[in-house]
């Protein structure tokens, strides 16, 4: 039981990372119908921004840690979206209206280019951040096993839930969110309503990159080690999460993220760590076979 609870906590915090990234996949898919395969790289760049700021400030101990954390968080949330914006502007917008395959290949191209750029600028070696946030609560004990809920895990959950609620409210309640949904449902009519479609699409990339940057920061804090290549596997898993939840659906992306995190944690906890990726992707295959629209996705019968 205690072991189970521990895996649950681990799975949920891992799922937070996937969920935050999955939202970016799902929003971009919703609005322009493409899989932005370079989105995982944006997450990686977000982790690098957070690392550079945290190390740059040089305060990894003492009472200044919270300041460093906030600075890294805000910094990466401001810097990383520039990449998201540039990606759309440089690589995808010129291809608007061209065949899907062209955009897909460009996305794959960007997902190769970005890690290489980071490798050139930052070097190929792994980068480490000393643990900055240690300790936690012991919430349960039994059979010699102590369940801990670390401060870091609490921070991750609070941050993730806050962001997910905030973004859901933006999409559901604000004029910007309405404009995004309008572009999703009928781009021509959105323009006829006075919406600047190009700008709305660019903002969608910016929003997705903002969430991915937070995921990058969380990843950095959780593992303490990053390199230029982390975007690939995490990105694919987040994409899996988006498909599992139903691509195009915002709550679906969050649910999918948490599910993938849980599957991975429980699989590693009860079976073998080596095959945890296989577990996550097997789920993807099963979903695609039995419920191609994902858990919360709706089949597009009503589209005009």
């Amino acid at each position: 039981m205690e072991y189970f609870v521990q895996q649950l906590i681990n799975g949920l915090t891992l799922g937070a990372v996937y969920g935050l990234i999955a939202i970016g996949y799902t929003m971009v898919y919703g609005i322009i119908g493409m899989i932005n395969f370079a989105h995982g790289e944006i997450f990686m760049i977000g982790a690098f921004h957070a690392l550079i700021i945290a190390l740059g400030l040089g305060i990894t101990t003492g009472t200044w840690i919270p300041v460093a954390l906030v600075a890294a968080l805000v910094g990466t949330m401001l810097l990383t979206p520039i990449y998201g914006w540039a990606l759309e502007r440089v690589a995808y917008r010129p291809l608007r209206g061209s065949p899907r395959l062209a955009t897909l290949i460009t996305a794959i191209g960007m997902s190769i280019y970005l890690p290489n750029q980071v490798q050139l600028l930052q070097g190929a070696r792994i980068k480490t951040l000393p643990p900055v946030l240690q300790g936690g609560f012991e919430i349960m004990e039994g059979g010699g096993f102590v369940v801990t809920l670390s401060y870091l895990q609490i921070l991750i959950m609070v941050l993730t839930v806050t962001l997910m609620v905030a973004f859901t409210l933006i999409i559901e309640k604000t004029a910007l969110g309405r404009a995004q949904r309008a572009c999703e449902q009928d781009r021509t009519m959105a323009a006829l309503s006075g919406i600047n479609v190009d700008r709305t699409i660019a903002l969608t990339f910016v929003m997705g990159a903002t969430l991915a940057s937070v995921a990058g920061m969380i990843f950095l804090l959780r593992y303490g080690v990053i390199d230029f290549f982390i975007g690939f596997l995490v990105g694919i898993k987040a994409f899996t999460a988006a498909v599992l939840g139903g691509i195009g659906s915002l709550p679906g992306a969050m649910l999918g993220g948490f599910l993938i995190g849980l599957i991975e944690a429980f699989w590693s906890g009860y079976f073998t760590v080596e095959y945890k990726d296989v577990a996550a992707f097997s789920i993807l295959v099963l979903v695609l076979i039995f419920r191609p629209t994902g858990l919360l996705g709706k089949p597009d019968i009503e589209k005009v």
Partner: protein
């Protein structure tokens, strides 16, 4: 107010508009009739910059809008209820109306909403229903109401009577007249329902395969033998 001169529009190699000259003056209702595929919808969309005219110019209140992006054209005070209504299917009636008010002063929203609901009371009952689940007639009313939410000075209507019951058709034309007379909104109306549309119009144009072949007052065209033969025979005439 709106001047379309020498406009050609292409879809790939297909020339849908072959040199159109139309003028709509402030305060008028101008009707455009023509057979299926004549290019009427293309013309209304060309005014809104999607697709753009390849030759010729479109000016609105003296300003050249031929190359302007669609959203900028809408901001100048043009609204369109397009062919097929294009209601946002996953948005509620309320949200669809909010979409109509994107370019409007938010301070007017409540008042404009009130007016939309008084024109089409059914929409008030359906305000939280999703657009995609409305009946065809309700969607048509919503499309017109949505277009009015921006307080346009020029309203483009593409076949507002399509698919409606005769009673509702009559009501829609009454409302168009009311919009024009009481709110002073200029209306450029595309219709298959030539009888009603010509009766309502101050002036009218007939379009045949991308060209204007006839123009005159609504009454003149209604009496024209060619128009009667082509667009009215067997109808209400």
């Amino acid at each position: 107010m709106l001047r379309i001169s020498g406009v050609h529009t292409f879809y790939g190699n297909i020339e849908a508009l072959r040199g159109i000259d139309i003028e709509v003056n402030e305060g008028e209702i101008v009707t455009l009739i023509g057979a299926n595929g004549a290019g009427k919808s293309t013309l209304l969309m060309t005014v809104c910059g999607n697709p753009r005219a390849t030759h010729g110019t479109v000016t609105f209140e003296g300003r050249d809008i031929t190359r302007a992006p669609t959203h900028d054209i809408i901001r100048l005070g043009i609204a369109q209820s397009p062919e097929g209504r294009r209601i946002f299917p996953h948005m509620t009636v309320m949200e669809n109306l909010q979409m109509g008010a994107v370019t409007a002063d938010p301070a007017h929203f409540d008042e404009d909403l009130e007016r939309a609901f008084s024109l089409f009371p059914i929409l008030a009952d359906r305000r939280s229903q999703r657009g995609g689940t409305l009946s065809g007639g309700e969607q048509q009313m919503l499309a017109i109401a949505r277009a009015l939410m921006s307080r346009p000075r020029l309203l483009l209507l593409d076949e507002p009577s399509l698919g409606l019951a005769p009673m509702v058709v009559k009501k829609i034309f009454e409302i168009i007249n009311e919009i024009n007379e009481q709110r002073g909104i200029t209306v450029f109306l595309v219709e298959q329902n030539a009888y009603h549309a010509l009766r309502l119009a101050h002036r009218a144009y007939v379009m045949v395969t991308g060209k204007i072949t006839l123009t005159g007052s609504g009454a003149d065209l209604l009496a024209d033998p060619e128009v009667r033969a082509a667009y009215l025979e067997g109808g209400h005439g």
